[in-house]
């Protein structure tokens, strides 16, 4: 990976005659190019590791040792790389033979020949266009790296979703009284998970507003334009994982209300509201049921309660309160928005690598 981090935007000059090197360095520098010289064989090896944008080599530089060092570098290049090499030959040199030999000994590179004495503007524009081609290679490299990263991230997310579904399956089965019961609860939970995934993806793939999470989770409980779950609160941006967790919590609360609570009778209503305290960024969420049948605490802890407790303890760092008041269930939880789990900027490989 380190080897791939070169900026590829500088010119390496290989010219054993000091006067040539001075001349090339000042000419190219004058035209805004970054120039470095390779002093000897060791220096050449070292500089090649730092990935030059291109090489400018004089005729005298083409010693067997240099040919071999550059050869070794070229055959070790990654697929995206094709190193441009500008070669300055004397007019009297055997052009064809040299070209044939370099084509053989330096594969994976593009050779641009000039005859000395060189028209300076020709040389400069040749070097500049070769460098532009090199920068396009760098773009390709960056895209390949990004794609590899995305594939790993995708694999990680798929595994995570499979693990989530596997947990939903096991825990739903454990509480189910019949196969029909199981099928209904399991598909409801899976649908809630799928809906929030779709919603996050349709936004920017990383975050979702709390109001949006409430809206998509309670959509099935709306009749006509009338929602029996009134959700109100300020805009709060949640990261992907926090949004998923809250959607699943809202789903549990809503299905519980539909089976046993306020939504099990036509006149029942639910109020969901949240506030953010300006002083410390404390997010507080409250769910209050009214107008349902008289409430009694359940005799055993089911999936919903168990999940709400575990999920919100993790997300908010505090245990939620669930009160089975006779007039209706009341649920509340609060936690600081600065917590890593609630802070969308703190999470996600994709976020971390964005500029």
């Amino acid at each position: 990976m380190h080897r791939n981090e070169g900026s590829l935007d500088w010119v390496m000059v290989l010219a054993p005659y000091r006067r040539d090197a001075d001349y090339l360095e000042s000419l190219l520098s004058e035209h805004g190019l970054l120039v470095r010289r390779a002093a000897d064989a060791d220096d050449l090896c070292h500089q090649l590791e730092e990935l030059p944008g291109l090489i400018v080599a004089t005729h005298e530089a083409l010693t067997p040792e240099v040919l071999e060092i550059v050869h070794a570098h070229l055959i070790g290049q990654p697929d995206w790389s094709e190193l441009p090499i500008v070669i300055l030959l004397d007019r009297a040199a055997p052009q064809t033979r040299i070209r044939a030999e370099l084509a053989k000994v330096w594969p994976g590179s593009r050779h641009i020949y000039y005859q000395r004495p060189v028209a300076t503007l020709d040389l400069v524009s040749g070097v500049q266009s070769a460098l532009l081609a090199r920068l396009r290679q760098r773009d390709v490299r960056d895209h390949i790296e990004r794609e590899v990263e995305l594939r790993h991230e995708l694999n990680h997310r798929v595994k995570n979703i499979l693990a989530s579904v596997s947990s939903i399956f096991a825990m739903t089965r454990r509480g189910a009284k019949s196969l029909d019961d199981f099928a209904e609860d399991f598909s409801g939970r899976l649908l809630a998970l799928a809906n929030v995934h779709t919603a996050v993806f349709e936004m920017d793939g990383e975050s979702l507003d709390l109001a949006h999470v409430a809206d998509l989770t309670f959509r099935p409980y709306r009749s006509g334009n009338q929602s029996r779950i009134a959700a109100t609160g300020p805009s709060v941006t949640l990261g992907r994982d926090a949004a998923t967790t809250l959607a699943l919590c809202f789903h549990e609360l809503a299905t519980n209300a539909l089976k046993y609570g306020a939504l099990s009778v036509p006149e029942g209503l639910v109020g969901l509201d949240w506030t953010v305290s300006p002083a410390d960024g404390l997010l507080s969420i409250r769910w209050v049921e009214r107008g349902g049948p008289p409430v009694t605490a359940p005799s055993r802890t089911g999936y919903g309660t168990r999940y709400l407790t575990a999920a919100l303890r993790n997300l908010f760092g505090t245990v939620p309160t669930i009160a089975y008041r006779p007039q209706g269930l009341e649920f509340a939880v609060s936690g600081l928005l600065s917590r890593p789990s609630l802070n969308p900027a703190a999470h996600g490989v994709l976020n971390r690598h964005d500029p």
């Binding site: 595994k159 989530s164 967790t245 168990r306 917590r339 890593p340 789990s341 999470h347």
Partner: protein, 120 residues
């Protein structure tokens, strides 16, 4: 399930609540004690009490980034043995801080065997 020996007190460092509450239930089914959870290394450091824990299960990626391996090393310094619980086996293999690895999705039999490694 009954044990000839004392139940183990297990802490879980993981940021996916669905997996936590499932593993919590599995740990209790095995007759062990679920000693709490945290979703980030920073939270773990605040809330953990080394004297009340026999071992910790640790995921690789947490709410504060890829801090699982650092957390595992830190836990070991506190004298708490660690098992990685992850779907990222190759990444976990790069770190030597754990006694072993439980694959996700977590299977009860695998978990039961690996937890026994916490007995010293």
């Amino acid at each position: 399930m009954t044990h000839d020996v004392a139940p183990l007190r297990i802490f879980y460092l993981e940021d996916n609540p669905l997996i936590i509450f499932h593993v919590e239930a599995m740990i209790e089914d095995l007759g062990h004690i679920f000693a709490g959870s945290a979703d980030s290394f920073s939270e773990l450091k605040q809330i953990i009490n080394a004297h009340e824990i026999d071992g910790a299960l640790v995921d690789i990626d947490l709410a504060d980034g890829r801090t699982g391996p650092t957390a595992a090393a830190w836990l070991r310094e506190q004298g708490i043995p660690v098992l990685f619980v992850t779907g990222q086996e190759t990444i976990a293999a790069e770190y030597g801080a754990a006694l072993g690895l439980v694959r996700k999705p977590v299977a009860a039999a695998d978990l039961a065997d690996k937890l026994e490694l916490f007995r010293r």
